[in-house]
């Protein structure tokens, strides 16, 4: 590393000249590139190339023995229109949208209230949001399996209240519950970051200018916190759409989602071209939403 940080190399000049300056500039650029190169190459080999392979595979042919990398076609993409596949896509999107909305509904007032607190309280509240954020996702989903399982706390509680043995496990509701539980911190954190940045005097000014509480939320707070809303929504929507662990633990046979469906193509159906095409769709959704976000002036996720 010593070498990379030592720019005083072989440029010999006494009096400054444009050539010297350009050489220094170039040397600095080269040094920057040199430092970025290891990570750059790593991501090229283990991210970009795999990405290209997925795209290539999605146009390949499936044979009885596996995948034939010839006879290129768009059959895999045509199959996206099949009723079965359409159902899965539709259900996944619906579930992801519902999850995102619930997260938004819980997280927005949470983040807003948090930003009205003193700095000390705020930091404490933040810590207690960070803990689930850092906690193993699998374990957190599993906890719901225990709660919702037959004879578990949930069924006992619902019997005690007199709702009978309301069964949630292996339903869409359980999946949504698991997804919200898993991704809520991803919504709270960007929302909080966005709302906390807002100058409180703006809200006061709007109230001074005759806005009602709701109007000042609608016309001042919401627009100003929009980057947080969008960032949080992307961070919840995209992984929900591609969720695999949650439906596997909490969902049932009838709740196949896009993520699980993709996994099936690879681990059991061995229909790699179709699986690749589905992955590509998921990726396209992710890329589009992110690009739209950055175009609209969002800075970081």
């Amino acid at each position: 590393m010593t070498a990379t940080l030592e720019p005083e190399a072989s440029i010999d000049a006494d009096v400054a000249t444009p050539e010297f300056e350009a050489a220094r500039e170039q040397q600095k650029r080269r040094q920057g590139l040199f430092m970025a190169l290891p990570a750059y190459l790593y991501l090229f080999v283990f991210f970009v190339i795999p990405l290209v392979i997925v795209i290539v595979y999605s146009f390949a042919t499936r044979t009885r023995f596996g995948t034939e990398l010839s006879g290129w076609n768009i059959d895999s993409y045509r199959r996206l229109g099949d009723p079965l596949v359409r159902d899965i896509l539709l259900r996944s999107t619906t579930l992801a949208v519902i999850t995102t909305l619930i997260c938004l509904l819980l997280a927005y007032p949470f983040a807003y209230y948090m930003s009205t607190r003193s700095e000390k309280t705020r930091n404490l509240m933040l810590v207690f949001v960070m803990i689930p954020f850092w906690t193993n996702f699998l374990v957190r989903n599993y906890a719901w399996r225990v709660i919702l399982g037959s004879d578990g706390p949930y069924s006992r509680l619902s019997e005690a209240i007199g709702f009978g043995e309301g069964r949630l496990l292996f339903t869409n509701v359980a999946v949504i519950l698991g997804l919200v539980y898993g991704f809520l911190p991803f919504m709270i954190l960007p929302l909080y970051a966005a709302i906390e940045r807002i100058d409180g005097r703006l809200l006061e000014a709007s109230r001074d200018l005759y806005a009602s509480g709701f109007q000042s939320f609608r016309h001042v707070l919401l627009p100003l916190s929009m980057p947080g809303v969008v960032a949080g929504s992307i961070l919840v929507f995209v992984p929900s759409l591609g969720a695999y662990v949650t439906p596997a633990i909490l969902g049932g046979a009838k709740t196949t989602l896009l993520g699980s469906y993709i996994v099936t193509q690879f681990l059991s159906a061995r229909d790699w071209p179709f699986g690749a095409a589905l992955s590509f769709v998921l990726m396209a959704v992710m890329l589009t939403s992110t690009i739209v976000y950055f175009r609209k002036g969002g800075r970081t996720l």
């Binding site: 440029i11 009096v15 400054a16 444009p18």
Partner: protein
């Protein structure tokens, strides 16, 4: 005698922008030198080039006769007091001050001894173990000074050293900096956008604008004999009256009024006459003293602002407003808006600048 800093034909270009455009500048040993100008004028870039933090696009840059234009900062015998100080937040005051010595491989005991001396010089004894965050702004500024001076630089560079302090502390530090500089006898080159600071502290001032060096001179030169319209306008408050040169002695204002204003410019040159508000006297019409007949104008008072020690009048002279500052205590008469008045001045206090 060899100049402490000698800059010849130095230009710095960032892409297509000339941050510094072909300047020549010579700073003497032991001089307190100010570089003054609005933000973006190139003064900081010039300072950074002397420090080695930027390399000139071209030109020669010598420190005590040695060409340093292409040397990195750690090979130059100069040190910098940075804007906002740039103290290392993770080091104690002592470690901050001895940093340069340690990097120069001075042995530990000597380094500590010298650092303590400097800490004493800037009156921070007893604070060696503190972190910068535990110091006040003024104390941080002293640490920054000690940290630079401990290396015995041949030239000390200061980038807006007082900018972060409040007014009172700033005035106090101005005096201290000045006496410190006299005591050490080292050249101080400091950058500021505050013209008052430059006028009170510097032996000489360089005024920069748009990358160009407009004027170098003593505070008196700069204030009383500005080289051009920009300098006249930037330093202090002034009235600028557009005119054309008639001959060595006279100029003609836009409305045809002839005024006495000695100047070396050829007849017909477009000029501006700079007239400081405090150099102008005001009185009722017809009371202009005889010797000021050719350096007077007539007008109507438009407004008056009371400043306590002074009265500021805006006097409308036909096509232009003239600012006049009268002494509140000695004024024989006070005027109200609408009063018809005459203004006059000494023939030595107007100054003609070429456009």
């Amino acid at each position: 005698m060899t100049a402490a800093v000698d800059i010849k034909g130095v230009t710095k270009r960032f892409d297509d922008v000339y941050a510094v455009d072909d300047i020549d500048l010579s700073i003497a040993d032991g001089e307190f030198f100010a570089m003054l100008g609005p933000s973006g004028c190139g003064k900081t870039t010039t300072l950074r080039m002397i420090a080695g933090l930027e390399f000139p696009t071209m030109g020669s840059l010598k420190i005590f006769g040695e060409e340093v234009g292409t040397l990195p900062p750690n090979k130059r015998p100069v040190n910098t007091v940075f804007q906002n100080y740039a103290l290392f937040p993770h080091m104690s005051v002592l470690d901050n001050v001895s940093f340069g010595l340690r990097m120069n491989k001075v042995d530990k005991t000597t380094a500590a001894k010298k650092a303590h001396e400097l800490i004493e010089l800037v009156q921070l004894s007893g604070m060696e173990k503190r972190r910068p965050s535990q110091l006040s702004g003024g104390q941080q500024q002293r640490v920054a000074l000690a940290r630079a001076l401990v290396n015995e630089p041949k030239v000390l560079l200061l980038d807006e050293p007082l900018g972060a302090l409040d007014l009172k502390l700033r005035q106090e530090m101005q005096g201290e900096l000045k006496s410190l500089q006299r005591e050490l006898g080292v050249s101080f080159v400091f950058v500021t956008h505050d013209q008052e600071e430059a006028l009170t502290m510097a032996d000489r001032i360089a005024v920069m604008h748009n990358g160009k060096l407009l004027q170098v001179g003593t505070p008196e030169d700069i204030y009383e004999r500005p080289a051009n319209r920009f300098v006249a306008d930037f330093i202090g408050q002034t009235n600028l009256l557009d005119a054309v040169v008639e001959d060595d002695d006279m100029i003609i204002l836009e409305n045809g009024t002839r005024l006495m204003a000695p100047n070396p410019l050829p007849p017909g040159t477009k000029v501006a006459m700079s007239l400081r508000p405090e150099a102008v006297d005001i009185g009722p019409r017809g009371t202009v003293p005889a010797e000021h007949q050719k350096t007077s104008l007539e007008g109507v008072v438009e407004s008056m602002t009371y400043l306590g020690h002074a009265l500021d009048y805006t006097v409308k002279i036909g096509w232009i407003d003239l600012e006049v500052r009268a002494d509140a205590v000695h004024a024989e008469q006070r005027f109200q808006p609408g009063d018809e008045v005459a203004v006059w001045w000494d023939r030595t206090s107007d100054w003609v600048v070429a456009d």
